[in-house]
Symmetry: C2
Subunit: 363 residues, 2 copies
């Protein structure tokens, strides 16, 4: 496909098959991401609506319901697990701390509901495997967000079509000032290994370059090396205030990645091949314009701004509508649980590599 | 210093003290880099001239002399070592295969001449140490090139002045299609471990992000991890057709680097700090415009093109004039041999890390 065709089809929903229908969602976990990103994104979606809000207290859930047009029912986690209001929703969106994904996914599966679960799938590899097993009779998708970003999908197509020759190396970085982002909010669970899992940074941020590289390369990790450390008091319980890691993929490509929860807000992805390179920047953090740049061996350069100015919102709307499209048509979806288990094995390997000072195979 | 002051002083020779004088250079090794880059760069220099050409045959040296205005004397390596024409030059520029740096540096020191030696300083750590010991009575500088690039010097000043807060991570990449660059030329010595040393790619290209990161951070490596492999027949004798490595520096900063001798021609350097980020791109490969971009926490963005359109030539002219300034004034210079030994220890550690699958300390 020529560059001009990519430009014309930049915002195409290449995945959409559904013509009409509505998937009713229960939102499990009402932190800032659910309130400020997920609810507005679902309001913009064609095939979804939010009908039930689930939180730790009836009051908090009712507050969120009161602040929206569509939401009607507020229940507690206990009531959700007990099966309240199951006739009011078809699927659940789980956006709790990592180590709370498992019980609510299990409950959703028990109620026969489809599950859209935030990344990473769970806090540890073992819990992630339990989650995948427990949900095998319902649709399960992981909310990686970038896989339904239209620019990322075009980037993947460009690579598959040979626009940069054979991929050789990937660079990925994601950083933010976590303590500024979550100041005074319960999101500080990311610094608590009981809730976050192996660490605060590679689990939460490093997973973006890892998973997006997998998606655009259409390749999986074979082995990793890593270095990480924490220095500030707030990060005393986690090993990775700052982290750097390399990944060898099964197509031979290397990724060199960094992540920090104590850095300037910044994200970038670059793929260099034998005959060109692609850069997406800024990315991962919803900044606009998210610019896609192609440089290729014959001197051609293209810089593509797709015009979006609410990148987070657009990515989430695309994600919810994709999920609805697949669930309502009863078709397979991706990224599914098996896909997510590869990330969890890789994340576990990255933390083990840093702790042991050894290259770790991802098996 | 404010951004505007940086813009005004972008091309300043902050290092220059010499008002007049000429350093006469013998060029040892007449490959394409010497002929096409070094000789024109010295012609543009204020304080240098080339007077002697040294090669493996009298014919080849005489050919180069015939093609230039200033050069007058052509001698062989044997004649150079024997001390021919020592009254015609004050210093030598060594641009031979890595494993030939030692004998000609030893000869130059025996003749009492200052030495400007191409990077890496030698093929192995042991030979590098021998070279430094053998030249301890004469000025020795390593031709890293980037350290006299004015934009790189400004980048270093910006970091030292706190423009991005505390540095957190560095990304560096350098890649080229070696087989296209050197097709039919004797430069294929880079694929011969006897001449190149530990490998073809990290030694030749990876050293750019490594050394430039050291320079702009003003920090040294503590430990490294690495992954590398060769797949094409031409790279059968070296381990690193493609490579990825991480470096922890003594200020806590991580660098995530990649290098490939079988990739699209591309180089980039990025430093992310707690309060901003700096990007130099394209870089390392002489492409113009080499753009310096600053983004900082208060939303300030600066993109600086210093107007140079012959980046290789300018970097080399700056490097030769800096060398002359220091040698003629009999002042200490940098990057010196001790500085280069840190790179050699780091390069050896990177190859050991890849071979053993272990994090290796740089000691």
């Amino acid at each position: 496909m020529a560059i001009d065709d990519y430009l014309r089809s930049l915002r195409d929903r290449d995945w959409q098959r559904l013509e009409s229908g509505t998937l009713r969602l229960a939102l499990v976990g009402l932190g800032w991401w659910t309130r400020e990103q997920a609810i507005p994104a679902i309001e913009s979606a064609a095939f979804c609506e939010t009908t039930v809000a689930v939180s730790d207290s009836q009051e908090k859930a009712a507050d969120v319901v009161a602040g929206t047009d569509r939401l009607e029912t507020a229940i507690t986690y206990e009531e959700f697990v007990a099966g309240n209001a199951t006739d009011e929703y078809d699927a659940v969106y789980i956006c709790t701390p990592n180590a709370r994904h498992l019980p609510y996914a299990v409950a959703a599966a028990d109620h026969g509901k489809a599950v859209l679960c935030e990344k990473p799938i769970e806090a540890t590899q073992q819990r992630a495997e339990e989650l995948v097993t427990a949900t095998e009779d319902v649709p399960l998708m992981i909310a990686y967000r970038m896989q339904t970003d239209p620019q990322v999908r075009r980037l993947r197509e460009l690579i598959a079509d040979g626009a940069i020759g054979d991929p050789v190396v990937v660079h990925g970085h994601m950083g933010q000032q976590l303590l500024d982002v979550v100041s005074g909010s319960p999101d500080q669970w990311r610094l608590d290994p009981e809730l976050a899992g192996y660490g605060a940074t590679v689990m939460d941020l490093g997973i973006y370059p890892l998973n997006t590289a997998r998606f655009v390369l259409d390749a999986d990790p074979v082995s990793v090396t890593a270095q990480m450390h924490s220095e500030n008091e707030a990060f005393r319980d986690v090993p990775d205030q700052h982290a750097a890691f390399t990944i060898q993929f099964d197509d031979g490509t290397y990724a060199a990645c960094t992540a920090s929860q104590n850095a300037y807000r910044s994200g970038q992805l670059r793929i260099v091949g034998t005959e060109g390179e692609l850069r997406l920047e800024p990315t991962f953090l919803g900044e606009s314009p998210q610019q896609l740049t192609l440089r290729s061996f014959d001197g051609r350069t293209a810089e593509i701004d797709d015009g979006r100015r609410d990148v987070f919102g657009d990515e989430m709307t695309e994600e919810f509508d994709y999920f609805a499209d697949r669930v309502l048509r009863e078709e397979p979806l991706s990224p599914d649980g098996e896909h997510a288990l590869v990330d969890m094995r890789t994340l576990a390997a990255i933390y083990e590599a840093a702790e042991t000072g050894r290259e770790i195979s991802v098996t």
